[in-house]
């Protein structure tokens, strides 16, 4: 183990030690019976506006986000900034749609989006489709958080040969698994407070200190090659990269709150009002994300890509090494420890929430629905605890044994899969008009088309839709959810005429205060 940055590592370990303690202590916070699934899996639905801000912020803005978005800016330039319009558009959606979901889930003790779909549409197979989409989309995302952790551990010089190199990751996993098991959602909620403070400190420091070191924004942007500085103007007969940019932003915005971990974070709030307030307050994180995308450009201007001391890091982690390299280059070792701890802890928070969300889905919507129909509260909570452990273990094994690129492909595909639940979940909170079987067929068509387009585009999420002599390259998720909706709309009157029973366990007043 040569070349370890000891100062950084010590600070990193101290901060990690602190949040480990916090994760276990969280079991006592707003104390509840953790043998009840809604206490373990939703923190007892007791988180007020401020805690929700930290939790959802820590949930949505993950370690992977902080590494991958600047990495994209570093490598591909302006297109990485789609993350900003994306996060601009999510908040009206959060404001309008999700308080309604909160109210109906609170009223009926629904813990997962599939619970809601089951009650609203009375169709266990539609609920299963929502469940499968949720679990499959979440798993690679957990794995990618561990990648973020791997990058900063490697950047501190901690390395080894063979599987010894994965020892720190395994240790972090054990800590994560342990406090999630004991404390449930309260653990990442409490740790999110620490993590988000550290992330804001790091981001603001980076955005103030580095430009000063580099001589100002003018010089930084001048160092970015013109081809990367702006979006390339599309050629004739194509919407080109403009179409990609806009569909990526809109499609990602629609998909984000359909992910089980996003919904878990929202359902843990104590009121619809906390959610609405957060729709106005969470943009603070978007601003920070925009700054971080620019940090990718700082890395270009600082020339870290060509510095010999970072050659090994770039070789191992590719463009994901851009931000760690810049931090190593620009800050004293003690701050490097703080910044890397922010990213590392920033991996644990969403990984914990994602594994809890996946566990809730399995427990309620697969196990209780199809296997053991009448579990006691304790059995339910216990099952979820075990499943969350297994899910994390699966992600760890995946990251250790499978090339990272594969995890990235799966996560991109995940966005395409999860958006197919939009008609049932997002439109379902507004209207019962759709026929449940029509929704299921729409989901299937959207999913299959999405997978097909993903493969046809060489395992990338943007598909060059072509007709009438024009090409419309764009985000497959957006195109396929439109197809999904069209199918559901066309089939609904048809299936209703064939004699569908419209069951609905909810009433209109369930959706608001």
């Amino acid at each position: 183990m040569q070349g370890i940055n000891w100062t950084a590592l010590i600070i990193f370990v101290l901060l990690f030690g602190f949040i480990t303690w916090l994760g276990f202590a969280a079991a006592q916070w707003r104390k509840g019976d953790l043998d009840q699934l809604h206490e373990w899996g939703l923190g007892g639905r007791r988180f007020g506006t401020i805690v929700t801000w930290f939790l959802v912020g820590g949930d949505l803005y993950t370690a992977y986000t902080f590494i991958a978005v600047p990495a994209l800016a570093f490598g591909a330039g302006a297109i990485a900034f789609f993350a900003v319009p994306y996060t601009i558009m999510i908040y009206p959606i959060l404001f309008l749609v999700f308080p309604r979901l909160w109210h109906v889930c609170h009223k009926h003790n629904y813990i997962t989006p599939a619970d809601f779909v089951r009650g609203r549409f009375g169709n266990r197979w539609l609920a299963l489709a929502v469940t499968i989409a949720g679990i499959v989309a979440t798993m690679p995302y957990i794995a990618l958080q561990l990648v973020g952790l791997q990058v900063v551990i490697g950047a501190m010089g901690v390395s080894g040969t063979g599987y010894a190199a994965d020892l720190p990751l395994i240790l972090a996993f054990i800590i994560l698994a342990a406090f999630t098991y004991t404390s449930g959602l309260r653990a990442p909620a409490s740790i999110a407070i620490v993590k988000d403070i550290l992330i804001y400190v790091t981001a603001f420091a980076a955005v103030i200190v580095v430009p000063i070191e580099l001589g100002g924004f003018g010089k930084i942007f001048a160092a970015v090659p013109p081809a990367k500085l702006l979006l390339a103007v599309p050629g004739a007969n194509t919407t080109g990269v403009y179409g990609v940019y806009v569909t990526l932003a809109l499609g990602s915005a629609l998909a984000l709150f359909l992910y089980p971990h996003s919904i878990t974070g929202i359902l843990a709030a104590n009121s619809g009002r906390a959610i609405r307030r957060n729709a106005a307050m969470l943009p603070g994180y978007s601003f920070m994300l925009g700054l971080l995308a620019l940090v990718g450009f700082f890395a270009i201007a600082a020339g870290v890509g060509t510095m010999p001391e970072f050659a090994a890091g770039f070789k191992q982690f590719g463009n994901n090494f851009a931000v760690p390299a810049l931090i190593l280059h620009s800050f004293p070792s003690w701050f490097v420890g703080v910044a890397f701890a922010a990213v590392g802890i920033g991996a644990l928070v969403p990984a914990a929430i994602m594994s809890i969300a996946a566990a809730n889905l399995y427990t309620r919507n697969i196990h209780r629905e199809f296997i053991n129909k009448n579990p006691t509260d304790k059995q339910e909570a216990q099952m979820a605890k075990w499943v969350s452990l297994i899910v994390k273990l699966g992600a760890l094994i995946f990251i250790i044994f499978v090339p990272t690129q594969f995890a990235i492909y799966l996560q991109l595909l995940g966005g395409i899969l999860i958006i197919q639940t939009l008609p049932s979940v997002m439109l379902g909170v507004y209207t019962r008009w759709f026929n449940d079987w029509a929704l299921l067929v729409g989901w299937a068509v959207g999913t299959l088309t999405g997978v097909w387009m993903f493969i046809a585009a060489n395992l990338t999420p943007n598909y060059p839709l072509a007709f009438a002599g024009h090409t419309f390259p764009g985000y497959t998720a957006l195109y396929t959810v439109i197809i999904n909706l069209i199918v559901a709309i066309v089939l609904t009157p048809l299936f209703n005429a064939m004699g569908g029973r419209q069951t609905d366990a909810t009433v209109p007043s369930d959706y608001h205060a």
Partner: protein
């Protein structure tokens, strides 16, 4: 405004939220370096500004529609 209807169904204030979408969904409008600000190209500061404006609009809608 009657508190019951304020929470239920449509409210004209919600139209304010559409502004954020419209502002960022047309790249040809903002895909430019000039007018730059503090050395930052228009493309970047325009979108960052809309993060802030969007938050303000959401806050306005929140207060206007809260009972």
């Amino acid at each position: 405004m009657d508190p019951q209807t304020a929470r239920r169904g449509w409210n004209w204030w919600y139209l304010l939220l559409v502004l954020q979408f419209v502002a960022v969904l047309w790249p040809p409008f903002y895909n430019a370096v000039e007018p730059s600000w503090a050395g930052i190209p228009f493309f970047y500061w325009y979108q960052m500004l809309w993060v802030v404006i969007g938050a303000v609009l959401t806050a306005i809608v929140y207060f206007a529609t809260e009972a």
